[in-house]
Each structure stands twice: as C-alpha cells, then as structure tokens.
C-alpha cells in the first residue's frame, strides 16, 4: 500500500482516499463540517485546512486525495490559525444559544469550538437573524444556528433522491430551506437532523425532551423491515427518547427511514398491554399471571389449535417455540405471519430505491431458515389460535376464533382475545435477527421490560407449570 506522512507519522492509504479518512485511520483527527463520508465533497466550510509540503496555500483535506510520499501537517501554526479563524467566522452570526439548543452536547460546532476556537470574541456588528421554520412533521429549522455546510442539501439530492433542501439568496443572506417553502417530503427526513452538525435541523419528536448527555446510547438493529438497519436507541430512566442511525456500510450506510426511526414509540405507548389479561364477563381485564395463563390454557384445551409466530420474533424465540410447541400445543399447525401479502421470503422486495423493504418485519428470512412456513389461510377446522408476536407483525384476520395472545399487543388489537400474556418488544430483549441478505444481526436490550412483560422463555415455563384444570377452577373463582 502507498504511504504518506501525516504529522511525522507514516500512514498507509488506499489510492483515492482523502486526507481526512487517511488521517482518521491513523487516529489523527482533521476537523471538518461540510465533509460527510456518505455525501459528495464540496470543500465549503474550509475547516479541514492542512499544510502540504510543496504547496504554497493551505489545502482542504476533504478534497485532497493522499499521494505517495505526500507530507501533511495538521497542527502547524498556520493550520491552527486557519482553524481558529474559520471557527470565528462560523460563530459571528451564530446565536450561541447552547443552553436551550437540543444539539448541545453532541454538536460539532460546539465541540470544534472548544477544541479549535478562540475564547475571545471580536465581533461587534449586528447578527444575522431568521425566523424558525416548521418543515413538516419531522423537522424544525432554526436557520440562525445554520453554518451553511450544505450537508442537508446534498443528503436530499444524493441520498433521499429529492432536491428539497436548497440554498436561496446569496452570500451572507444565504438561507438553507425547502425550495417551495413547503414541508419536507422525503420519508427519510430524520436523517437531516442526524447529519446537521449544529442545532439548525432538529427532530420535532425529540425537541426539548432531554439533554443529550443524560441519554444512554445502545447500539441495536431496526425491526421496521427486513433490511435491519443499524440504530442507536437512546434511553434515560428506562424511557426511550430517541432513535438515530448508526453507521453500517454494508446494510444502511449512515441512514435510516422515518418509519424505522419513530417505530420505537409503540414500546412505551399507553395503549400497549404490559399486564397479563384474561377475558371475564365479556371483556378483557387485567389479571394475575397465573390467572391469565390458566385462562389461556383453558381457551385452547381440547381444541384444534393453530400457532402463529410473528416474523418479528428473534431466532432464539422462534427456536424455542419450534422446540416446545409440540409439547405445549400437541398436533397444532404452526405458521409465521408479519406483512399482509408476504408469506414467503421470495415476496420480500425493495420498497423504494433507498433502504426500505416490503416485508415490514425484521426476521422473515430468519424464520424461513428455521423451517417455518408462512400463513396463507388458517387450516380448516381450526378452533383456537395462539399468536406469538413481537409487536410489529400485522395480525391476520382470525375470523372470531378463540385466541390467546403471547407477546406485544395493544388493547385494541387484543380486544377479542381470551387472554394476553405480555411479552417483550425488540427494545426489551437481546437476540438475533436475520435480514433479507441472510445477515445475522444482534438486537440489544435497551430498557428493562415495562409493566409485567416477560421474556418468552419465562412465559412458556409458566405455561408448562400451571395445570390447566386446576387453574381453570381458580380462574373461575377469582376473576
């Protein structure tokens, strides 16, 4: 591999790599704002200036490819002076409203300012100001904080495939906005907030909810479709506040869709059933675990049962069911379900040109690997159904059959059920899911189970330990 010299160290590089990337591989940080590895290079912010031997002017590292023997200095006096002046220029019109800015604590501008800026201010002129703009359901814009890095413009153009963010006017009056003043249209708008290096584009969903330094960040995988994008979920005090994209060059690069980003909300929605429940006097009512399990078992006893397994379950959960179903539900047929119309992996296809897939559950392909078959219609003669669900799979029409739900349901979804045994969402458990390419990925537990929700293994153990007949009597007596 060819080598160049950065700050006196010999560093290997792949031809074509720019100096920011080459330096990074050696642990040397060259600061920049407009550069984003997933977007085209524009060299606009001028922050990444470096000194290169034999070149009279400072060069922008983002737009300079390393060459054999190139000698680069990233911390010379000239470079420091340039960095300091860029920081000064970027801040003269900035409102410095960090105390009330959602980006504070994870803001490139703030951090670079600390590392490369000057503690003194020389600007005595009037600051440029703009009104805040509501950019639709996802993003709110505060143009005063914008540093004109144009990442958002390039994201729209190059990744989302829609040139909706643009620069209007010119020079010092340049405003970054939507072309028409209309709301953002892309279904990937959340990424605008992820890549904005300042608090200019913020997620409406997260604004003013939490100071970011209180958030615990857990790397996990999205369950929104069969791609399985890499995510980070951010929680504090067992509440999830936010979901952001996590770099994974092989699956989702740096991006996620809005559906995946905001999917986590159902986990802590008040509609979710997190208490065991049993049907009593015509309606579903909260019950003790033992009562609910007894009710569930009573519902299916002596009936022809079909077991439905959501393709939103993990491999571990599915394997467990495969092993234990013959014992707990002898003779029952077992199928997976998840997205209407997609009963087999081969039906799963790209849903757009970016990331989304048509299978709206994460583990369709995993369940197929384990030999599960997709539900087309319930076997003739089915009298009762047991549904295992992670929370995202679309429930099939159960035609009024006696149903037991195990896993995650809302009160409305379970309205006609005989019993609900509350299980865990993808944020409350760890496990393996397999994406459309057959890639095994790991879900990580983000929060502790809410309410009385329990892992599937525990629910199945209870199922085995509660004698049906005995508990039927008890259920009758107590509920």
């Amino acid at each position: 591999m060819p080598k160049c010299i950065i700050d006196g160290r010999e560093v290997e590089f792949t031809p074509g790599q720019n100096l920011i990337e080459v330096a990074k591989s050696a642990g040397i940080v060259i600061p920049g704002f407009c550069y984003h590895p997933g977007l085209s290079v524009v060299a606009q912010c001028r922050m990444c200036a470096v000194e290169i031997e034999k070149m009279p002017k400072l060069q922008t590292a983002c737009s300079t490819a390393a060459t054999e023997g190139m000698v680069v200095k990233t911390r010379s006096e000239r470079v420091k002076d340039a960095q300091k002046s860029v920081m000064e220029f970027l801040l003269i019109n900035h409102p410095l409203d960090c105390p009330i800015c959602d980006k504070a604590g994870e803001c490139d501008l703030q951090d670079r300012s600390f590392d490369y800026g000057s503690p003194y201010q020389r600007y005595a002129e009037e600051r440029r100001t703009f009104e805040d703009v509501d950019m639709g359901p996802v993003i709110k814009k505060n143009m005063n904080r914008c540093i004109h890095c144009t990442r958002c413009i390039r994201f729209g153009d190059e990744i989302a495939g829609i040139r909706e963010m643009v620069a209007i006017h010119r020079g010092n009056s340049t405003e970054i906005t939507t072309l028409t003043g209309l709301p953002l249209e892309t279904e990937y708008a959340g990424n605008y907030a992820d890549i904005c290096p300042t608090g200019s584009l913020t997620l409406k969903d997260f604004r003013f909810k939490k100071r970011v330094w209180f958030l615990k960040k857990v790397p996990t995988i999205c369950e929104g479709c069969s791609r399985g994008c890499s995510l980070e979920l951010h929680q504090s005090d067992n509440v999830i506040y936010r979901c952001v994209a996590r770099e994974n060059l092989e699956v989702n690069k740096y991006w996620i869709c809005d559906e995946g980003r905001f999917n986590f909300h159902y986990v802590q929605a008040p509609e979710r059933l997190t208490e065991p429940a049993a049907r009593q006097g015509g309606s579903l009512q909260s019950a003790e675990w033992s009562v609910a399990v007894a009710k569930a078992k009573a519902t299916i006893v002596d009936k022809k049962v079909t077991v439905l397994v959501g393709s939103d379950l993990t491999q571990e959960e599915a394997l467990l069911l495969k092993e234990l179903a013959p014992k707990h539900f002898p003779g029952a047929a077992m199928f997976h379900f998840g997205t209407p119309g997609i009963t087999a992996g081969q039906h799963d296809a790209p849903a757009d040109k970016i990331l989304k897939r048509t299978s709206k559950t994460s583990n369709l392909h995993g369940l197929e690997q384990l030999g599960f078959e997709g539900l087309v219609t319930l076997p003739r003669g089915t009298e009762a159904v047991v549904v295992f669900r992670g929370g995202r799979a679309t429930l099939p029409d159960l035609g009024g059959l006696a149903t037991v739900g195990v896993g995650v349901f809302t009160a409305a979804e379970a309205e006609a059920f005989q019993a609900v045994l509350p299980g865990l969402t993808f944020t409350e458990k760890s496990g393996t899911i397999v994406n459309f390419e057959g890639r095994e990925q790991q879900l990580k537990r983000v929060i502790l189970p809410l309410g009385q929700a329990k892992p599937l293994a525990e629910i199945l153990t209870m199922w085995a330990n509660v004698g049906a007949a005995a508990v039927v009597a008890r259920a009758g007596a107590k509920v």
Partner: protein, 426 residues
C-alpha cells in the same frame, strides 16, 4: 508618448458596419484564419497558440495555448468550448466592444478553438445586463450559420461546431469559470472544487475550455499571422499580443486603449493616453486591474502594466481595467463601496468569504460613517488575512486584497475618519 504598436481590435470599435459579415470579410480577412486552421492539425494549432504567448485576458493571465493543451485527446464525454463573456469586474468594459462591434471575430476564434480542442459545441456565457450585445451576437451567429461558418461541415471541410449564446442572470460570481459552468448547466451559480479542472471535467462533466472574449478574439490573428508575430507584439518575454486597457475614474479621457502587451507603464497609460487627472487634480490612488486588484499609490505607478510586472509588486493586471482616483475622492468611501460589492456578490458557499466579506464591509461602513474604533484597522487586516488564500474560489482574494492594500497604504485616511468621527473632506 509611447511608440504605437499595431492594434488589432480598437480601430473597428464604434462603427456600426463593422458588425457585419461583409465588413469582417473585407476589412479583417474574416474567416480566412478558419479556413487555414481547418487545414492544420490540432497539435499544430495548439503549438502556434503556445508560441503566441497569449496570456488569458479574463484575469488570471494563464497562457491560453498551455490551457488548450490540457484537454485530453480522447474523451468518453463530449468536449466543450465556453467563452466567458460575463465581464462583471467593476471597471471592465473591453469584451463588450468586441462583442458589439466585431462579433464575427469572436465567432471565428471559437470555431477554430473548437476544432483545436475537439469540441463540437460552444457556448458564449454573457452577463445578463448585456441584452443588446446578446442580441447582436445572436444576429452574427445566424449570419454565420447562413454562410456555412457554423453548424455541420463548416466550409465543407468536415468540422462541425454549434454555438449558443447563454445569458446569465446578473451574478458576478458566474464569471468565475466553474460557477459559470454550473450556471450554464442550469444549477445555482456556485464555484466548484478544483480539481477536477474544467479541462478534465467541465460543462456537463465533459472536458471544457473556458476562455475570455478577448482571448478567443485573438485566435484568428494568431492563426493568420503566426504565433511568433503575435508574441512579438508584446514587449516582454512571456506576454504576447496587444492588450485592451479600460481606463475609468478621474481621468480626462476615460475609455479603451489598445497597446502592445507590456509596452507602457501605468503612468504612461494614465497621463499619455487617458489625458491625465480630471481637473488637473493630484492623483490619489490607482487600481490597476479591476476593482479586485490591490491598490497602488501614485509613487508606485512607474511600473510596466502587464501580468508579471504587476504581480511582482503585489497587485495584478487582472482584466487590465485601470481605475484612477483623484485626491477629491475619499478612499475610505471607495474601499467601503468595493468591499460591499464583493460581500454582495459572494456566493456564500464557503465560510471565510460568506462571513468575512460582510464583516469587513460592516466595519468599513462604521468607519466611513464616523463610528470607527482604533482597533478596527488591525481587525480589518486580520480579517483580510483570514480570507485571502483560504477560500474555495478566488473571490475571497478579490475581496481581501483591496481591504489589506487600502488600509495599509492609506492608513492616515482611515485614522482620520476614526479619530475625527467623520470624513475629513465631508
């Protein structure tokens, strides 16, 4: 008075009839260079251009032949020849006369250039305000099409070349060649990162040469009479041909003057050609190459007005537009006005230019209006330092150079404004 060299352009200016194809053929051997060029090899033309020592007339003075030589012989994408007729640098008005009085000369130069670099399509990007010039160019272009001098199989010699006039929308930055190309492509007129240079990836991604009007208009002379002859019109080693100097400001005879490159000093141009200072006042300052060129004091103008000679003393020939300022005009006001122009014309992409040009202008405005502070002059110098050489395109330098030079050379005037709380001459 300086001995006169032969002039190429100026004798045809100011005459209605010089626009016509008939005049051009009769009085200027029109399109004979084209016939000759189409019989030459591309390399021969480029070599002739190199020998001519034709320095680009757009501002940077880059040797045109060398630039043409950068165009790759083979290219998967179509190549383009683009004429920069944006002429927006304050003080500049030379390309305009070429376009309105001898448009065919430019057309002929472009067809030859297209042949030399292998481009079948050319554009003239003209500043939006030149409505009349655009119309005249279009008339000349249709004349040329009708005469088989543009289009398919030109002069029956197998070369194809189509030429279109593209009007800008009034942005100075679109004179910068990569911004010009973006604008031509229908995008926002913003400069692009170089490399890639236009010769590698220019208009629509194809290899492209961008040349100034005056540069391209010189081509037919070079082909007809040879690169060595053209080089000999210039009096210095590396600078051939004649130069159109636009002299404006406080002189008795403002206007265009054509002289052999490097054949006169600034003083000679101002006093011998342009008649000296208006009302016989004292000379205060000279901006030698369009408003972006660092200013000179009266003591500095005994310098040959050419690319390398002016660069040596820290300023530039630029578009050869000399702005002359008499003692009657306030230099603080002048610099404020210049600074405001660049702040207004900054495209706003890159940080130092977007923020710094406005900041400098605000400070200057305060000083001009009597609200300056002692530390402002050091601040201005520092700001111009923080912009110069650190921006994406040379507009940053264009804004920084005047500020640094005015403040250093006319420090007393600035201090008088600051200390007196107003303009001393007001």
């Amino acid at each position: 008075m300086q001995q006169q060299t032969e002039t190429l352009f100026i004798q045809h200016f100011g005459k209605e009839e010089s626009r016509s194809l008939a005049y051009f053929r009769e009085k200027m051997a029109g399109y004979s260079a084209l016939r000759k060029a189409l019989g030459m090899s591309q390399d021969d033309i480029i070599n002739e251009m190199k020998r001519a020592n034709l320095r680009g007339r757009g501002g940077a003075g880059f040797p045109a032949g060398v630039k043409w030589g950068f165009i790759p012989k083979q290219s998967a994408k179509p190549k383009y020849l683009v004429c920069n007729a944006d002429e927006s640098e304050p003080g500049t008005f030379k390309d305009r006369d070429i376009m309105r009085y001898i448009p065919h000369l430019l057309i002929e130069g472009m067809v030859i250039g297209g042949y030399a670099i292998g481009a079948k399509v050319g554009y003239i990007y003209i500043r939006g305000e030149y409505t009349r010039e655009a119309k005249l160019l279009n008339q000349a272009i249709s004349e040329a099409y009708d005469a088989g001098l543009l289009g398919k199989n030109i002069l029956g010699l197998g070369h194809d070349f189509d030429l279109t006039v593209h009007r800008g929308a009034g942005a100075y930055i679109c004179g910068e060649e990569t911004a010009l190309l973006s604008s031509l492509e229908g995008k926002r007129g913003e400069p692009r990162v170089k490399p890639p240079f236009p010769a590698q990836a220019g208009a629509f991604g194809g290899p492209t040469i961008v040349n100034n009007v005056e540069t391209l208009a010189a081509v037919p002379f070079i082909i007809n009479r040879g690169g060595d002859w053209f080089a000999g019109l210039g009096k210095l080693e590396r600078s051939g041909g004649t130069r159109l100097f636009g002299v404006s400001g406080h002189v008795k005879k403002p206007g265009l003057y054509e002289i052999g490159a490097g054949s006169a000093t600034l003083r000679q141009i101002i006093y011998d050609f342009a008649g000296g200072i208006l009302h016989d006042k004292k000379l205060k300052a000279v901006i030698p190459g369009g408003s972006s060129a660092p200013v000179l004091t009266p003591e500095e103008i005994d310098v040959i007005a050419d690319v390398d000679t002016l660069a040596k003393i820290g300023t530039m020939l630029g578009s050869a537009s000399i702005v002359v300022v008499s003692e009657e005009y306030c230099v603080v006001r002048l610099l404020t006005r210049i600074s405001k122009f660049y702040a207004h014309e900054s495209c706003g992409q890159c940080t130092p230019c977007r923020e710094g040009t406005r900041w400098m202008t605000d400070v200057l405005y305060r000083i001009e209006h009597g609200h300056g502070r002692e530390e402002d002059l050091a601040l201005l110098l520092d700001l111009s330092n923080n912009i110069a050489g650190r921006t994406l395109c040379p507009l940053g330098d264009a804004a920084a150079g005047p500020v640094a030079s005015f403040v250093k050379k006319f420090q007393a005037d600035f201090e008088a404004h600051i200390r007196g709380g107003k303009c001393p001459s007001a």
